[in-house]
């Protein structure tokens, strides 16, 4: 056994009392084996691993009990200087966000060679030699030239390759990977996962793979533990766990992963509620001073009553399309809503139309004014659009809160007093307050845990049915789109790649880019 953790309990002693982050957790990893740790945010999955290497702040953190035998030696009994000898040498780590995990002030090379120099006593020249070899091995082209580049000169995927090279440079026996692909686009994610698998097999590496994404874990891990509120609720081989989950929470998690296609009624209507023709949105790049086309000549129709998915990777311009239609950013071309041309309208003339088209945003923390109560937030659109009077507004807001599943008693509360899912309910309430016909939803569930995500998606479906809404659903998550949308369009670099009925697109993607996108989706 490479690593054997038994009865690990970690508590945080804060001003507001003691919280148990990890509660009596045990797990083990062998060489050449991948252990997946799955859980939602706050489940203790990261803390349990970080604490093994002394990487949680102590205090307030405190290891209350447990042992963690790494090759027979108890990591939890070591002091910091002994742990330092283990960290980055026999046990290496990679992290979630490669954008922030590399030091922007040092070159890639300077950072890569450090483990060799401090753990293995290499001189600079040999270390550089080894680093360049490994950069090549992890798929970084022109490694020798890029050795002296700074992190900002690399893309996200490339940076994660650098992180992996840096982790593997001392030939560690155990690799702890904490959500290493969560911040990456789906096609890049597939490449990185493949790389991890390949290196792991080649080096007979033990890997702990921490993730919230069940599909990713299923594709990679040999065995899995599921964590909830600091405890391990289920452990099994990957195959058994996914095919025959025992614990209620595991079932709930698996059930929450969007899968399959939308079943309910095809849209029979053919009337285009929204017609977009040759839409172009340009931004000025502050550094180069040149215009940059975020949206490049996009045309499509959105049919009355349908949910149209808009799919693309980060930076593809998918969010900008939604904002251009609502005239939140200046755009050229033609946008016709229910027969009315919008782009030529003044902001003032646009105002009455805004009642009929609304938007839901991604980040439930940024989309609510932190100084306004639920009542203020929900009453504002009603009052501004003249749909309520001072006398009726209270009752209308309460009704709205019922609609989106918020407790009436919370009417006087402020956003920071709610969880992410509840905040998103408030934001949805604000969007449907004016009884709009079209809603543009910009990644409305991307920031949420999978079980919450499911609840919000159900709420959205229910509201669409109840109010006969049409929706443009912007997302990077293809599984969500498939489960929700009637039709889907794919965007790359601001250009429309393909638009089709959801199932047709899934079964027979015509364009190469769509095919690549589909191939990259991990599935449960």
């Amino acid at each position: 056994m490479l690593l054997k953790v038994d009865n690990l309990t970690i508590q945080f002693h804060t001003r507001n009392g003691i919280t148990t982050a990890v509660d009596n957790v045990s797990f083990a990893v062998n060489s050449g084996e991948i252990l997946g740790i799955v859980g939602e945010s706050g489940s203790g999955k990261s803390v349990s691993c970080y604490s093994l290497l002394g990487l949680i702040p102590m205090p307030p953190g405190k290891v209350e009990s447990g042992t963690a035998l790494f090759e027979g030696q108890d990591l939890l009994a070591m002091d910091q200087s002994q742990l330092r000898d283990v960290r980055g040498d026999d046990v290496a780590m990679i992290f979630q966000d490669p954008m922030t995990c590399l030091n922007p002030f040092l070159t890639i090379g300077e950072q890569l060679v450090e483990p060799l120099i401090y753990h293995r006593g290499y001189n600079k020249k040999d270390a550089k030699q080894r680093a360049i070899e490994l950069m090549g091995e992890t798929g970084i082209k022109k490694a020798a030239q890029r050795f002296d580049s700074y992190p900002h000169e690399f893309s996200g995927g490339m940076r994660q390759r650098v992180m992996i090279a840096m982790a593997l440079i001392t030939e560690p026996k155990l690799l702890i990977a904490d959500e290493p692909t969560t911040a990456l686009d789906v096609t890049i994610q597939a490449q990185i996962l493949e790389l991890v698998k390949e290196l792991q097999t080649k080096r007979d590496l033990g890997v702990i793979f921490i993730s919230h994404d069940l599909a990713v874990v299923r594709g990679l891990a040999d065995k899995v533990i599921v964590m909830k509120e600091g405890q391990v609720v289920e452990r099994n081989t990957t195959k058994a766990l996914f095919e025959n989950p025992q614990h209620e929470y595991t079932k709930q998690l698996l059930d929450a992963v969007p899968s399959g296609a939308k079943t309910a009624g095809k849209v029979s209507d053919t009337k285009a509620l929204l017609r977009v023709r040759n839409l172009v949105t340009e931004f000025y790049d502050r550094n180069t001073g040149k215009p940059f086309r975020a949206v490049d000549d996009v045309s499509f129709d959105l049919i009355q009553g349908e949910i149209l998915g808009l799919v693309g990777e980060s930076g593809s311009g998918k969010s900008t399309i939604g904002r251009s239609i609502l005239k939140l950013v200046p755009a050229r071309g033609e946008v016709t809503f229910d027969g009315k041309e919008l782009l030529g309208l003044s902001q003032k003339a646009m105002r009455p139309i805004r009642r009929r088209m609304q938007m839901i945003f991604q980040d439930p923390y940024a989309s609510l004014n932190p100084r306004m109560t639920v009542f203020d937030t929900l009453a504002e659109p009603l009052l501004v659009q003249g749909l309520a009077t001072r006398q009726t507004v209270e009752a209308q807001v309460l009704e709205l809160m019922d609609d989106v599943g918020l407790a009436r008693a919370a009417i006087k509360k402020y956003p920071h007093e709610f969880s992410g899912g509840q905040r998103q309910r408030i934001a949805i309430g604000r969007a449907v307050a004016t009884k709009p016909e079209l809603i543009i939803a910009d990644e409305p569930v991307s920031a949420l845990d999978v079980t919450i995500q499911k609840q919000i998606l159900e709420l959205i479906k229910a509201l669409v049915d109840k109010h006969n809404l049409s929706m443009l659903f912007v997302s990077h998550d293809l599984s969500v789109v498939r489960a929700l949308c009637d039709r889907v369009m794919v965007i790359e670099h601001g250009k429309l790649v393909e638009i089709d009925d959801t199932e047709a697109l899934w079964m027979q993607p015509k364009e190469a880019y769509t095919q690549r996108l589909m191939a990259a989706i991990p599935s449960v």
Binding site: P352, S367, T373, V374, F375, Q391, E394, A427, A431, T434
Partner: protein
């Protein structure tokens, strides 16, 4: 409110209430707040509660160390130091508050316009601020005081004119961030007019840093005034300020150290209080800025 009739609403805690709770936990900030309030009350009541008259001399008495009759001693003319300190404090505090208000007024207006309008307007307005930043203002204020004589009004304007630059930068940064927040986009998508967006969404959310910076500007301004007065370029006798009193004290400190020490203490404690209050407000209003 009819909501009360419909539901038994739970009371929410606003960010302001939250901030107040955090501020109350910060003993130093509370001490600062207490001292500042105390000083303001004293300054307002000085003409009635000062133990002696401002011009009251007693040449026969001369300089005496602290005693029961004169708690902080007297100066060479036998004038009561406590009385002089109280009157001087009025001037020092007034300079601090008024010059900060000038800075606040110009800075907030300038920064809000630049930040919200954006684009070319923003670029030009901020270029002007940058250029003014490069000017050596301390030297200019000295020059102004020399050329136009030492008037109190000029002092307010000159110091205010220096301090507004930072204020404008801070406000603009705030407005720029808030302008791109999703809740402002939501307000625009809702059809709110620009003034209403500014009033309901932008201003309330940028108030925190403005309050903090204003609190921290007051001690800076008081310091600047004292600095100028010490050089003999600020407040002029018969008016007095703490800087001027320190200047006098420094001249005779070998023989009459209390004439230096007490005005120095008065200034330092006030600066302390204001800085602690400012730091405490920053922690309370912007929990992210102070890493705990």
């Amino acid at each position: 409110m009819s909501a009360q009739a419909l539901v038994n609403a739970e009371k929410g805690t606003s960010l302001w209430a939250d901030a107040w709770v955090r501020l109350k936990k910060n003993k130093l900030a509370l001490f600062g707040l207490g001292v500042v309030l105390f000083l303001i009350v004293i300054a307002l009541l000085t003409p009635w509660i000062a133990p002696y008259g401002y011009e009251e001399q007693n040449l026969e008495l001369g300089a005496t160390p602290p005693s029961a009759a004169h708690w902080l001693g007297t100066d060479l003319f036998g004038r009561d130091l406590l009385t002089r300190l109280m009157y001087g404090g009025r001037v020092s505090l007034a300079v601090g508050l008024i010059a900060t208000s000038v800075a606040l007024l110009i800075g907030v207006a300038w920064g809000t316009i630049a930040g919200y309008v954006g684009g070319r307007t923003d670029a030009i307005m901020m270029r002007i601020v940058d250029a003014l930043y490069a000017l050596p203002f301390i030297i200019f204020i000295i020059l102004l005081m020399v050329v136009f004589g030492r008037s109190l009004l000029l002092l307010f304007l000159a110091i205010g004119a220096v301090e507004w630059l930072t204020m404008a930068r801070i406000v603009r940064g705030q407005v720029l961030t808030i302008r791109n927040q999703e809740y402002v986009e939501a307000a625009r998508a809702m059809g709110l007019s620009t003034p209403r967006i500014l009033l309901r969404h932008v201003v309330p959310n940028s108030l925190g840093p403005i309050i903090v910076y204003a609190t921290l500007t007051v001690p800076q301004v008081m310091l600047l005034e004292a600095f100028l007065s010490f050089l003999g370029l600020g407040i002029q006798p018969p008016q007095s300020s703490w800087g001027l009193l320190i200047s006098y004290g420094a001249e005779v400190m070998e023989d009459y150290p209390w004439l230096l020490i007490f005005p120095g203490l008065a200034l330092s404690i006030t600066l302390f209080a204001l800085n602690f209050l400012g730091d405490g407000l920053r922690d309370a209003l912007d929990p992210k800025a102070s890493k705990d």
